[in-house]
């Protein structure tokens, strides 16, 4: 009996002990579970805290960047004009020969030309463009003798003062399919097509340089016709300006006696449907042109110019550029002449009372080729030729170079080599050969006569220049 009671007690103890073990294990498992949950919650919270911290940091960084951008934007908005600089230093070697064979030369003439280019986008429909220029011979600060002639301001070596070469606002008055832009001020009327090839730049003027080159004040209205006519890049320009204005600083109402020279022109530009092509047909009429003879200035007649030009830039990526210009000038004297020493100076005449029209013509052709040589920065060579007949007259008094070769009543040939130094600077070496057949090239007064005796017959110029445009 005792034995059975003992066994029963032991069995009971074993059963009880194993039941207690089970409870403890359950509790441990539950505790583990809770710990894991807590750990998970802590990790989630830590992540959330880190994210909040990161977001706060990023937000702070964005705020800092915004502040910096605001500062840059403010600075940009305050810098109302973008400036560019052009500097040219050149040396010329001239040789002259008269019709009688007398020769003279100056082989070492150096000059500096500085241009400060300005541009500003004022609003979406209005922008400003300007250029200040200084052009002088080395070691010479004399004022250019014809400095009173407006087209030449900043375009002939003079003293070191700054001239305004161009300053105009393009104002798009009408947008839409036929946009209309009015250009007001001192116009982009110099160094025009196709001088950009020789100058290693892009188009810099409205007009063919065969007929017009120089500073000019006026108003030009440009009517975009591309959508209306489907002719690529077509635009009609109508211009009004003055070649002379009779205004006296003293009286404000003019000196009287001399009429203003009014200039009106129409220019039709269009492309041929591929990149780099430009065709321009134009007509310009200047009424009451003045003789500009000191002491006896008079209106001497009207001049009309008709010009056609075509140019191709980088034809089909062949690195070849070609251009051709043709111009006709019709000079109609009014019979008036100005006394200049023993001469009576009328519009292309010496005869008082002469009212016969004098028709001249000229052409200018040329090309440029760029060699594909990365090692040499793709150097270029160019060749230009122009010819003008006896009565050729154009408005190129403020011409691209001092020789005004496109006004030649005869022949002019120019060859050049351009050696780019980098994207912004280049060297150009060239030679000009001008052979005058008639006198007075580029002048509106006096009868063009066959060159003889002491008249300038041949002019040769070898030059080397450095040009920076940045």
């Amino acid at each position: 009996m005792k034995k059975s009671i003992l066994l029963s007690a032991i069995a009971s103890l074993v059963v009880t002990a194993s039941g207690a073990d089970l409870n403890v294990q359950q509790q441990i498992d539950e505790l583990k579970k809770k710990i894991e949950e807590l750990q998970s919650n802590v990790a989630v919270k830590q992540n959330a805290v880190e994210q909040v911290a990161n977001t706060t940091q990023e937000s702070t960084r964005v705020s800092e960047l915004e502040e910096r951008l605001d500062a840059i934007e403010t600075s940009t908005l305050k810098n109302k004009i973008d400036w560019g600089v052009e500097l040219r230093t050149r040396v010329d070697s001239y040789k002259r020969e008269t019709a009688a064979g007398s020769k003279s030369s100056d082989g070492n003439i150096w000059s500096n030309r500085l241009r400060l280019n300005m541009s500003s986008n004022i609003t979406d429909d209005m922008k400003f463009t300007g250029r200040l220029a200084m052009y002088k011979n080395w070691a010479d600060n004399s004022v250019y003798p014809y400095s009173g002639m407006d087209p030449m301001q900043g375009r002939r070596p003079s003293d070191s003062s700054i001239s305004v070469d161009r300053a105009y606002v393009d104002w798009t008055v009408l947008k839409g399919d036929v946009p209309v832009t009015v250009t007001i001020g001192r116009q982009p009327s110099s160094d025009g097509p196709s001088h950009q090839f020789k100058d290693n730049t892009v188009r810099k003027s409205t007009y063919s340089a065969l007929s017009f080159d120089g500073g000019a004040d006026g108003i030009v209205t440009t009517i975009g016709l591309e959508k209306l006519t489907s002719i690529p890049e077509s635009a009609l320009r109508l211009g009004y300006g003055k070649g002379y204005q009779d205004n006296s600083g003293a009286s404000y109402i003019g000196d009287g006696g001399i009429k203003d020279t009014n200039v009106m022109g129409a220019f039709f530009d269009f492309g041929l449907g591929f990149s780099g092509s430009l065709v321009q047909l134009s007509m310009v009429k200047a009424t009451d042109v003045i003789s500009n003879v000191p002491g006896d200035n008079k209106n001497i007649g009207d001049v009309s110019l008709y010009t056609a030009m075509v140019e191709f830039t980088n034809i089909a990526d062949t690195n070849l550029d070609l251009f051709a210009h043709y111009g006709v000038s019709v000079s109609k004297p009014n019979g008036q002449t100005s006394a200049y020493g023993p001469y009576n100076m009328g519009l292309l005449t010496y005869m008082p009372g002469d009212t016969d029209s004098k028709t001249g013509n000229a052409y200018w052709v040329g090309g440029r080729y760029a060699f594909s040589s990365e090692a040499l920065n793709n150097p270029r060579i160019g060749l230009e030729y122009n010819h003008g007949n006896q009565n050729w007259f154009s408005f190129t008094q403020g011409s691209n170079d001092v020789t005004n070769k496109l006004a030649t009543r005869g022949d002019a040939l120019e060859a050049y080599y351009i050696q780019p130094i980098n994207r912004y600077a280049y060297l150009r070496a060239g030679a000009q050969f001008i052979d005058n057949d008639y006198t007075g090239s580029g002048m509106q007064i006096g009868t063009p006569m066959e060159v003889s005796a002491t008249d300038l017959d041949k002019l040769t110029n070898y030059y080397l220049l450095f040009n920076l445009n940045y």
Binding site: T129, D170, V202, K204, S205, T206, G273, S275, N469
Partner: protein, 86 residues
């Protein structure tokens, strides 16, 4: 003389009709050359990811070169053409 000029013009037109045009490629990709400076365009053309983002990577090498030339020569800080109303 007239025949020579006409022949030359036809030749130019024919060659140009087949030539790739940077302006057209730029238009098709909706790229505005004047929206960036020269150096910024150069950076894009030297970074495959940036080219891919603008769709330039799909162009042939020749078209890419033509496009780069167009974009850099018409960039915001490039030498701009000047004429009334341009």
């Amino acid at each position: 003389m007239k025949k020579a000029i006409s022949g030359f013009l036809l030749l130019v037109l024919a060659i140009s009709a087949y030539a790739a045009n940077g302006k057209d490629i730029s238009k098709s990709l909706k790229l505005d050359a004047s929206s960036k400076a020269i150096k910024q365009w150069e950076r894009i053309f030297s970074t495959p990811e940036k080219m891919a983002a603008l769709g330039i990577d799909k162009l042939s090498a020749a078209d890419k070169a033509v496009l780069q030339k167009y974009l850099t020569s018409h960039a915001a800080d490039s030498d701009h053409p000047e004429a009334a109303g341009l």
